[in-house]
Symmetry: C7
């Protein structure tokens, strides 16, 4: 049982906060929008840009940073996932 | 007597909440937008993207997740249905 | 004396509420947007989509469901009609 | 001395309310947007749709229904006119 | 020293209110948006519509009606002018 | 050390208010948006209009009028400049 | 470990305020939007403009001015970065 996102959406497994602090990204305590980190598990079929379907830039396995308040949480077989639009993803961490 | 949705709309039969909790998707109790699950019963003729009619990505029979507050409820012959735009569908559950 | 709607508009004769309750569509008493049923009496010349005029999907005689608060009511020779944009029509009942 | 509307605008002579009540269109006393009736006296050169100038659908002499709060009133040589965009016109009465 | 408006803008010399009342246009005392009259002194190079530069419909010397609250007033060598976008001009008075 | 504006932006040196009053443009004391005058010091590479990069209409050296509240002030080597989008410029003073 | 921004985004290292004051740009103490200065560390793959991917105008190493409230802060390996869209960048300082 798995999630196949539509269009320009991706399924992301959010990295635990502890892991984040250790791993590299630390979210600064400011009033600005705080990003979160996660791993891409599935990507949609792409987005239509001026009549042509364009593949998403992110790939399965990419570690990505995204806005904390973006997307919709779902639980599947006891696991929590986040459904994001690619546009809510800020950068890939390489 | 059946519903034929227009354009990029689909008719969805919402899965009962009990079934959802057993089946797989559990809606977490957060302040975020909660998705719901259902089955696609009918799809529209497609949407116009830059002058070309593009078939919908969801098909009849697909199990889909969508935003809880999306769409319009209708009752036909005593059965309740939901009329959604494809864009309100987040992912297909396979 | 008859109404010829412009562009993507259609003239709809709203089905009486009693008839609706008997016939099939029952509007549920929720806080969601409630749809109404009617019959299409006239359709506009179509809508421009990326430079091409596209015929409307609904035809004269179609039974349609639409949002309760959509459109503009007019009375012509003592009869009440509703002027809707096609986009306010959710589905055709077949 | 006459008014030549620009682009997708038309000049309409509003039909007097008394005439309307006798003639055919009666505006129902609901909370919905109430349409008004008038006659088209002049039409603009057309509107640009995706790079092509498209002639207006309404012609001089058409009896039209439009939203009550649409347009701008002007007086010319003691006569009152209404300057409307074609999009504010709901239907032609034939 | 003169003003050369950019793009779809025009320079208008507003006709004095007295002149207006005598000449033809009388602004009715309603709650609706009141138009004003003036003469076009200069026009911009045109506007881009779907990739093509299109000449403005109004010409130097045209007497035009426009929304009272549109545009920006400037004084040049002691004279007041109004800088309007063509879209704020409702009609040409011929 | 100089500023190279991006896209459709221009760098403007605002003319001192005194100079303005003497020179020609006097800003009237009304509630309307008041324009300011300045000289263009640098222009961006142009703006994309329907897929084609189009050169800006204003050139270095042009004396321009723009909305008082438009743009962003920067100081470079003790001099103040204004960064405007071309669209905020109303007219060139010739 | 580095950040690869998506689409039209860039990674910027914000220049310290002290350095800014010395270097050249001084932010005036007005009510207007205050710009900040920084250096571009990474640029996205470009933005789609009417169906064509267009390379970003800013390059790695450019010193740029941007709106103070634009973008999202992230910390990577103890260093703070700013993720901006190219459109939030006002000018390059040369």
């Amino acid at each position: 049982m798995r999630l196949k996102p539509l269009g320009d959406r991706v399924v992301v497994k959010v990295t635990e906060a502890e892991e984040v602090t250790k791993g590299g990204i630390v979210l600064p305590g400011t009033a600005k929008e705080k990003p979160q980190q996660g791993e891409v598990l599935a990507v949609g079929s792409g987005e239509y840009i001026d009549g042509k379907r364009v593949e998403l830039e992110v790939k399965v396995g990419d570690k990505v940073i995204f806005s904390k308040y973006a997307g919709t949480e779902v639980k599947l077989d006891g696991e929590e996932y986040l459904l994001l639009r690619q546009n809510d993803i800020l950068a890939i961490v390489e």
